[in-house]
């Protein structure tokens, strides 16, 4: 039964991708916008999660405003899909005509230094696919991706990912520590998202005022390699126009208190992500269950919660 489902999923996805390949970027945007509206209407659970997250983050003070932002957020992510499929067409006249870049002179130097590795933190915000493509024009970029359960869909998506100097490492792979270290040793960018729910693997760090289980690897990589960290984000200014900004480079000295050192780094990165999201809340993935507080009530992470939350 499972393989029948796999074939159906693969067939449907291949058909849809083929359709989008035949459309112009403008036409594909119109179709995806409508589909996102339909999905927003039908995906009751995701919609509720998004609205709840927006209200609890203090981004909106009432349901109507939260609903408006959530709807635009769903639309935004349909456009992220478009960018993934059509970035070559969107920026056929040269990526430099579509992106304004704002980085410090020190970070610019690091990006151009072929021997200096860089850890780039980001979140599910804005147009990260565009950001990865832009940065990979300057310095090779390695990102991390979770393999899909359907192996045929996985191969299909792998074939469509832009290559150039951008490659993906599998998530939760036993060899990842050495792979990450090699990326940095080779003077490349290691791009990691900081806003994925880390479950028991992470530590609780406040994100928009609520504890969220956060992966520690990015902080540990910086502490053990001393590779500079930056927080990078790219948002859509208007159709086909983007702005990429990166805060940093950031350096944190180990104190010997590992948990405190990790927490300091993750809190700093979360503050940067919060700031970016507050500026453009409709470009954040609000429909994701970032804060899974019910797990903490059951699990042995309970002792990390502040007393008021228990």
């Amino acid at each position: 039964m499972r393989w029948i489902r796999y074939w159906i999923e693969y067939g449907f996805l291949k058909f849809m991708l083929g359709l989008f390949d035949l459309m112009s970027a403008a036409h594909a945007e119109a179709v995806l916008t409508r589909l996102s509206g339909l999905y927003y209407a039908l995906a009751v659970s995701r919609r509720r999660i998004a609205i709840d997250n927006i209200l609890k983050a203090g981004i909106a003070s009432d349901y109507k405003e939260a609903n408006r932002i959530a709807r635009r957020s769903f639309r935004h992510f349909a456009l992220v899909v478009l960018e993934s499929l059509k970035s070559g067409e969107i920026m056929a006249d040269g990526i430099e005509h579509h992106i304004r870049v704002s980085v410090s002179p020190e970070l610019d130097r690091i990006l151009k230094d072929t021997k200096q590795g860089l850890i780039m933190a980001s979140g599910h915000f804005g147009s990260w696919e565009i950001a990865a493509q832009l940065v990979s024009n300057v310095k090779p970029v390695a990102g991390v991706t979770k393999k899909m359960s359907n192996p045929m869909v996985n191969v299909l998506m792998e074939q469509r990912k832009p290559r150039n100097n951008f490659h993906l490492l599998p998530k939760y792979d036993r060899e990842n520590a050495s792979r990450f270290l090699n990326v940095l040793k080779n003077g490349e960018v290691l791009a990691l998202m900081i806003d994925q729910h880390a479950s028991w693997r992470g530590i609780l760090v406040d994100f928009f005022g609520r504890p969220a289980s956060t992966h520690t690897a990015i902080a540990l990589l910086h502490l053990v390699t001393k590779a500079p960290i930056c927080f990078g984000y790219c948002w859509r200014v208007s159709p086909g126009q983007y702005e990429l900004r990166a805060e940093g480079p950031l350096y944190f000295k180990p104190t010997g208190d590992k948990n405190a050192d990790i927490r300091t780094i993750l809190e700093t990165l979360n503050r940067h992500l919060e700031k970016a999201v507050r500026e453009h809340p409709e470009q954040y993935l609000w429909g994701h269950r970032r804060w899974k507080e019910e797990e903490f009530v059951r699990s042995d992470m309970r002792d990390q919660l502040p007393a008021a939350a228990k």
């Binding site: 990842n176 520590a177 050495s178 270290l181 992966h215 520690t216 540990l220 053990v224 390699t225 050192d261």
Partner: protein, 81 residues
């Protein structure tokens, strides 16, 4: 520090960093580090603990090729001097 002292301190650090419940008294120099519960994330914890615990600096990629506890003890002997 003698090799034995390094090994004993390393055992304590590994016990604190590993997410796996094992009999640490049965750890020997032939023990495979990965078999002691260190995956791609917790190995970074261990590297931090070793750098801070032994108060030494090294590039994490210098550990390429280190597979067993004995390999790591030898590496640390070279760094501590």
């Amino acid at each position: 520090m003698t090799r034995e002292e390094i090994g004993n301190k390393l055992r304590d650090l590994m016990k604190a960093a590993s997410p796996k419940q094992i009999d640490w008294n049965s750890m020997t120099e032939q023990s495979d580090i990965a078999a002691l519960g260190f995956d791609s994330l917790s190995i970074l914890d261990l590297i931090y603990d070793v750098q801070q615990g032994f108060k030494i600096e090294f590039d994490a990629e210098e550990l390429t090729g280190v597979r067993t506890v004995g390999d790591l003890v030898t590496f640390l002997q070279g760094k501590i001097g």
